[in-house]
Assembly symmetry: C2
Amino acid sequence: MPSLTPHSLDDLLVVRPGKWTLVVIVHLREGTMRFNELRRDMGDVPQKSLSAALRELERDGFITRRAYATIPPRVEYDLTELGRELLDVADALHQFALRNRHAVRSARERFDRAGADAATGRN
Amino acid sequence: MPSLTPHSLDDLLVVRPGKWTLVVIVHLREGTMRFNELRRDMGDVPQKSLSAALRELERDGFITRRAYATIPPRVEYDLTELGRELLDVADALHQFALRNRHAVRSARERFDRAGADAATGRN
DNA sequence: CTGTATCCCGAGAGATACTG
DNA sequence: CAGTATCTCTCGGGATACAG
């Protein structure tokens, strides 16, 4: 089995997603979303970042983009089948993060406190 | 359930890991590893990057670090219980990437070809 | 052997303004 | 409404040199 490396380009999106990549995926869980709808849902994401994330996800086949030449214009985004599989993985990640939030938080505090003590020169 | 956002700091490591973070985790699968052992195994990772990844993983409680004041010095790294759970998630990610490598690759080619055609002005 | 200290660089993030 | 175009800035990555 090929080993996990950041240089395996095809894996890049998954191994080291952009800041908003997975956030988009999970927000498409319920179905079709429009641009500004996503934007509101996701909180304070800059237009440029959202637009970039959407384009990359479309390029890689995780979402579809349907544009209607109406006035005002309308663009709809949806998960593809592949996108729904990515959603499963993103969910696993999310669940793991939620489960272990507190453990990580207190581990950090312990570590930082120990470092602070060492820096003080005491002990 | 809290929604997934990049601003949830506790989730950061998991939602958006550093370039080498998960690579370290999977390479610790077999058990105790020393610094240069990891380095060789992982391929061409700069010392600084590996060192930084290890420190962050230790800080967050995913690995342990044991230093021996011998000459030459020796430092051993191991997964914690939490780290082994992260390994499971990393594996899921890795498997997903491997399974869908070709699909993503060809999706990209289609997308780029379409873009190139559009740019050429033909069609 | 196992690191830390610098320096440099590019990619990505964000703010702002403008367009079809 | 749904973007693109700039511009700036920070952060992380990588190379190199040095240290305990």
